[in-house]
């Protein structure tokens, strides 16, 4: 008998996400020891907008990673055997348990205490009245909603805000203590340095971003257990919960699709530029052809094929979560396969330039093999382009997912994503009175994620691009 009240379950995307995390950590360790790799990252850390964006991104990444540890909760044992629920849960689900379980009947506005639609209610005295019924969970603790609601929301919101700011303040203090220890100054001195922007790493920007996060998250966390902060959707599910669950989908698409694209772009681009001639012609022909087929068409075709395959081989995919997950991977793969051409072209151009450089000629003079020259002399010198492309493509792919899911060829409809949220909000926008919160929540979260990713990508590009003349490099 299993002692644990749950069983871990590793989805394909989870495995890939954690492999990616391991790779990032490995790269960080590797880069630390190498000054030429460390230097651009330390330039990123000196960019104010980059640091602020990194704080916001970190919050998203945390949500995404929590959502990537899945398990099945244990059911009461049957026949002496341990039994587990068919439904997969993630650590994020566990933290958001109250949001997940508190379902209403249908739409309710943000922070509402009553449903958004009138219903016929049977009164105790037998009369039937059409009115807005009280929500089952949202504001259920209020005795007299009409009178108490505003005060209660304000009080709880304010309390949440206060706690959040207190936490923020202690983080800021801890940071100044750390800075003080490094620089050898006193804590007050470091505190002043941080706020006057005199530290090498712009901690002020990071703390400001953290403060913005706290101002938003504090009241939300305080109110979420008792209210639906972003309202509920058609089937009464909490919109905040949906928005938080969407983060993982977006991030998985943004990162895994790039990973699929990378080997194609890197290998083919470098080969085209290095060998020139026939090889170059073939690869150019390939990507010219591929990039002249409309991407959406290709994606739609392969997603539909995947769907048919899953339906015909239902036994291979025991649960709906696994099915949705496989479809997500398929989407990543096809997005990757259709999007390598741009990076490939860039790498081909850079390699054409590099292959004429003298250190590569010197390697030829030693009779070093082509493969080794490409691996040792070309690849490391095009990595800055790869790095820039990686972070720049991320936000594009997150947006692409939203568009594809909206069109209906994106992720599985049962999987919560920004695209599916927008898709279901489409009809609600036409309702009178309008249901706006589903779309608004998706919009706010996606904007924050993509904006932070873009700002971070900008900082990375500035730090890695050797063509940007940096102050001090002029002699």
């Amino acid at each position: 008998m299993n002692l644990l009240p749950f069983r871990f379950e590793l989805l394909w995307t989870d495995a890939l996400v954690w492999v990616l995390v391991a790779a990032v950590i490995g790269y960080a360790v590797y880069a630390r020891a190498r000054p030429h790799l460390r230097a651009p990252w330390s330039r990123v850390s000196r960019s104010a907008s980059g640091m602020a964006a990194a704080v916001i991104l970190a919050a998203f990444v945390l949500a995404g990673l929590l959502d990537s540890i899945h398990y099945r909760p244990a059911l009461p044992p049957q026949d002496g055997k341990a039994a587990y629920a068919t439904e997969l849960r993630s650590l994020l689900d566990l933290t958001l348990q109250p949001l997940r379980d508190k379902r209403e009947k249908t739409y309710s506005a943000p922070l509402a205490t009553h449903l958004y639609a009138k219903e016929t209610v049977l009164l105790p005295d037998g009369r039937e009245v059409r009115e807005f019924p009280r929500l089952r969970h949202g504001g259920a603790h209020l005795k007299n909603p009409a009178a108490d609601w505003a005060g209660d929301v304000a009080l709880r919101g304010f309390r949440g805000l206060a706690v959040a700011l207190l936490i923020w303040f202690s983080v800021a203090l801890a940071l100044s203590a750390a800075v003080a220890q490094r620089s050898g100054n006193g804590i007050e001195q470091s505190w002043g340095d941080i706020w006057r922007g005199r530290t090498a790493i712009p901690w002020r920007a990071a703390l400001c971003a953290l403060a913005a996060l706290a101002v938003f998250a504090g009241p939300v966390i305080a109110l979420a257990p008792l209210y639906h902060v972003f309202g509920t959707d058609k089937v009464g599910q909490d919109v905040l919960y949906q928005a938080l669950k969407s983060i993982r989908t977006g991030m998985v698409i943004g990162t895994l699709a790039t990973l699929v694209m990378l080997p194609f772009a890197l290998l083919l681009g470098v080969m085209a530029g290095y060998f020139k001639g026939r090889v170059d012609d073939m690869i150019q022909y390939l990507y010219t052809t591929l990039s002249s087929i409309p991407g959406v068409l290709l994606i739609a075709a392969s997603v539909l094929m995947m769907q048919v395959y899953i339906e015909n081989n239902a036994s291979l995919f025991p649960s709906s979560e696994i099915r949705a997950d496989v479809r997500l991977i398929a989407l990543c793969v096809i997005l990757g396969v259709t999007s390598w051409t741009g990076l490939c072209r860039l790498l081909r151009g850079e390699t054409l330039k590099l292959r004429e450089l003298e250190y590569i000629q010197a390697a030829h003079a030693f009779g070093v093999s082509h493969w080794r020259i490409m691996m040792r002399h070309v690849m490391p010198n095009v990595m800055h382009i790869v790095m820039i492309a990686l972070v720049m493509d991320f936000s594009g792919l997150v947006l692409a997912e939203a568009v594809l899911s909206y069109v209906g060829v994106g992720v599985d409809p049962s999987m919560i994503s920004f695209g599916t949220m927008i898709n279901s909000a489409r009809l609600e926008m036409a309702r009178e009175p309008m249901v706006w919160w589903s779309l608004a929540a998706a919009f706010v979260f996606m904007l924050a994620l993509v904006l932070a990713a873009n700002l971070f990508a900008d900082a990375v590009r500035d730090a890695f691009d050797p063509r940007l003349v940096r102050a001090g490099a002029v002699a």
Binding site: P35, Y359, F366, G367, R376, N381, A471, G472, V474, A475
Partner: protein, 676 residues
Amino acid sequence: MSKKILLSVRDLRTQIRGDGPPVRAVDGVSFDIAAGETFALVGESGCGKSMTALSIMRLLPDAAAISGGTVELDGENLMALPETQMRDVRGRRVAMIFQEPGLSLNPVMTIGAQIAESVRRHTALTGAAVDARVIELLEAVRMPDASRRVGEYPFQLSGGMKQRVMIAMALACDPALLIADEPTTALDVTVQAQVLELLRDLQRSRGMAMLLITHDLGVVAQMAQQVAVMYAGEIIETGPVQTFFDGPAHPYSRKLFDSLPERAGRNRLLAAIPGAVPPLSRRFEGCRFAERCDRVLPHCAGTVPAWHAVGEKHDARCHLYADADGTSVVKSATASGSGAQIAVRRAEDECSAALLQVKNLQVHFPIRKGLLQRVSGHVYAVDGVTLDIFPGRTLGLVGESGCGKTTVGKGLLRLVAPTGGQVLLGGGDFLALGRDALRRRRRDVQIIFQDPYASLNPRVRIGDALEEGLLALDVGSGAADRQQRIDALLTEVGLSPEVKGRYPHEFSGGQRQRIAIARALSVEPRLIVCDEPTSALDVSVQAQILNLLKRLQREKGLAYLFISHNMSVIDYMADEVAVMYLGRIVEQGSVDDVLRAPQHPYTRSLLAAVPVADPQAVRPVLRLAGDLPSPVNPPAGCHFHPRCGVAVAACATNYPVEQRFSATHLVCCHLCKKTD
């Protein structure tokens, strides 16, 4: 001779801000330029010459800022002018030309339109008058066929012509001062001679003052009236050109002269300056040159030297002249002469069989055109070159850029595929070897490149870069042996074995070139192709590298194919010389044959064009007209006849056969007849 002072710079200071402490690129520079005079600012790279010019024009990059001092033009302080008025000063009263003419012209505008733009901006001319003025300017800079060239785009012009266009633009409104920042560094020696002559004539006829920035003492000797030597952000010596060349006073200036290969003579070591220019971000307490000076006094490192007169109007910033009678120190120093004698090698002792024989080497690059990439023509980069290289000796290959000398070097290493001919190395034909056999034979021939910054992979540590050849060619037994070899190599080229773990960006140009030499040596080659190994380096560093190459040759019996456009370097290094013109060798022989008694008109004009670091040198005037023709359509007959001053009818029809002028001297010219 008290001319009116046109430009007066006082205590000019410019700082570049970056991540670290500010770099004081210009640190208290003062000088005066009289109207109509040429003032030369000499110094090695990184000493702040260009920054001084840009500060005067107030055209500094964003990271740099002027932090003090005044610049007065005709008594008006340029530092106090608002930017709008400064724009009128630039171009109208002070004009500037830059080193790289190709980068200073807009590639999508005709040159006429670009000159007209600056004419319109600074003069009241309109309509047809502007066009007339543009043609007048182009004629003034001796642009051949000016009225047709007006409508051409920069890509249709050669480097020399582009520089002429730049000069024409600068002259558009008769500036009182022309700042020329290394105006001929990117040009070939024959074109350089044309441009320098043009600048000199223009300056004389227009009474224009000129601030000439250069690293080349030969150019200074030909052009300037006043000289100032810059070192580490400040001027250390200034004086009239004749006095300065007669007796440079500051130890640094003297070392600069001594490190010129033509001054030393082939059998002496060049006087190299040890170390490198100190970083300008640091604070200086004494003389900036103290660490590298061979005549350093105890108080040099602690006390900043003041200006001391060493002659009439000739001042130096050096403690040596503090109390003694300056001139005597100058005399004694010049008499001391240059570096030590090297053991003279006798050519007869080792004249053995050739190590490498190049027979009729051809490298033709196909030009492909159209949809199907049909070959529509060829670039005849190397068109039948025959050379012999003997063990332990140096063959110098000279010629203007674009004549195919680098392609010869790469072709015989098979870095570019030759289309014909033979390269006989140790009996077999190197060009006929298969893949594996070629890989084994690669040990025998290695190459050193021109650009020390491009010749090392920035992502690979020095130790790994040196190990690459050992691994690829299976030299050495095991990792420990390889590491020992690498240590020995680094010591051999004058670096500490501890640098193995560092990356190339931590090294200066000269150090990188040493590492590149160590890399070539790692597989114990018998021949090293040196492709302009010092042309990107300063003279003092060049001297270090040339000394190193000579020592290695003596110790290891290496043969060098030394490719260079610099006649004095070739003169210093080579035992035999071959002169290339448009893919073919026009003259070859021993160094004395070719450089002392040149027979081919091309060799003669090439030698005449070299600026000599002596203002009084009497030189034959043999100016080459025009530029190198395209190797796609070489002229019929002798390739050189369109530019040749003494061509006869036969030159236009037949390519001259090679004639043996003396036992060691071969010439390809219709006019050369054997004398005996």
